[in-house]
């Protein structure tokens, strides 16, 4: 979940807090609340993970597009010689 912390810190924080709440509810034997918090924590964590994945993919894609742009400029320059 290191990526999640880096790319989606708010969602990761929310997930951790919900997880803590779920544990508290479990300790208090409030199983209904524990289930609810656990479900929320899971949804938050999954979203954080997905955000991290999409951010990374976007960064790589942009880098590649830039590489291609630079290559094309070089090619045009070499072709013009």
């Amino acid at each position: 979940m290191a990526d999640g912390t880096e790319f989606a810190p708010a969602d990761m924080k929310a997930a951790r807090e919900k997880l803590a709440l779920a544990k508290q509810a479990l300790a208090a034997k409030d199983y209904k609340a524990a289930t609810d918090f656990a479900n929320q924590a899971q949804a938050d964590a999954k979203l954080a993970q997905a955000k991290a994945g999409s951010a990374k993919a976007q960064a790589v894609s942009q880098t590649l597009q830039e590489d291609i742009r630079v290559l094309r400029v070089e090619l045009d320059r070499a072709g013009a010689q």
């Binding site: 590649l64 290559l71 090619l75």
Partner: protein, 310 residues
């Protein structure tokens, strides 16, 4: 068709009426989630890349809507709405990631193609450069070859000229040797043979036996040197009438010419002139000196058959 549309209107009105009647609960969060959901549904990337996640989100929203319709507690509706909200966001993010990954795959292909184009261009340029260099080298070699040929030709010409000069010298040397028996002299006009008075009968324009011997030797030399011609010049002393001396000198020169023709020398190679008392080689004071003046001189031409006139 008309009936069908009417039915829809009736059903729609029924739903509206029931909604007003039952006054279903909603929350601001649920309203927001419904907006999010509509946006996600209109996003083509979500349909393409996150169908599964979207289905899960749809189910979550349905639960929240159902809870609202069943008038469950606000808290319960919001909990379900929150889960739906996160699942909708998840579907959007997954769609974004997969779309980016697809872009990456495509971009890698494009990048490889561009690199290939670049290398092809470089290779083409390098080849063109190499071909230029080769053409230049070939031109240089051709120029060198032509220069060598010209040099060899010049050397060959020089050698030929040298050979001809050597041959000409050899011929001259041979001619001089052949003329040694005839006591030829080298003069500015060429080689000159003098036939003295003693070779003719006294006051006669006819060669005696010794004179004929000299004529034979000369004819032999002319046969061995076909490029040469001769000029036969007759001279007399100053004794007696000038007219007589002129005629005598001419007759003697003609006698030598006739002797050469008889010996087989071609007519066009022999010319003759009489000079009478002119051009004495000694004073006409003693008998001995006058005998020196009575003579015939035979001038040999150069290699080309030319004789400088007197």
């Amino acid at each position: 068709m008309k009936t069908f549309r009417l039915n829809i209107l009736v059903v729609g009105a029924a739903i509206l009426a029931s909604a007003c009647a039952s006054n279903p609960k909603s929350t601001s969060l649920l309203d927001q989630v419904r907006v999010d959901y509509a946006q996600a549904q209109s996003n083509p990337k979500v349909a393409t890349y996150a169908a599964l996640e979207m289905q899960s989100a749809t189910e979550a929203l349905a639960k929240a809507n159902a809870a609202a319709k069943e008038r469950e507690s606000l808290e319960t509706v919001d909990k379900l709405a929150y889960l739906a909200k996160q699942k909708i966001a998840l579907a959007t993010e997954v769609a974004s990631r997969k779309s980016s990954e697809s872009d990456i795959a495509n971009a890698a292909v494009v990048r490889d193609q561009v690199r290939l184009d670049q290398r092809t261009l470089q290779a083409d340029q390098a080849r063109a450069k190499a071909e230029d260099a080769e053409r230049s080298a070939l031109a240089a070699r051709n120029a060198e070859s032509i220069a060598t040929q010209q040099k060899e030709l010049a050397q060959s010409n020089a050698a030929e000229a040298q050979r001809l000069a050597t041959e000409a010298n050899a011929r001259n040397a041979a001619l001089e040797a052949q003329l040694a028996d005839l006591s030829a002299r080298k003069t500015e006009r060429g080689l000159v043979i003098t036939l003295g008075d003693v070779l003719f009968g006294t006051d006669l324009a006819r060669l005696n036996a010794n004179g004929m011997l000299m004529a034979k030797r000369l004819a032999s030399v002319l046969q061995q040197n076909p490029q040469r011609t001769v000029l036969v010049e007759g001279f007399a002393d100053s004794t007696g009438q000038t007219q007589h001396n002129q005629e005598l000198s001419e007759r003697r020169a003609m006698a030598v010419r006739d002797a050469l023709l008889e010996l087989g020398v071609a007519r066009e190679r022999v010319t003759y002139r009489g000079y009478g008392e002119s051009y004495p080689v000694a004073a006409n004071d003693t008998a001995q000196n006058r005998q020196l003046n009575r003579r015939v001189e035979i001038v040999l031409s150069d290699d080309r058959g030319l004789i400088r006139p007197r």
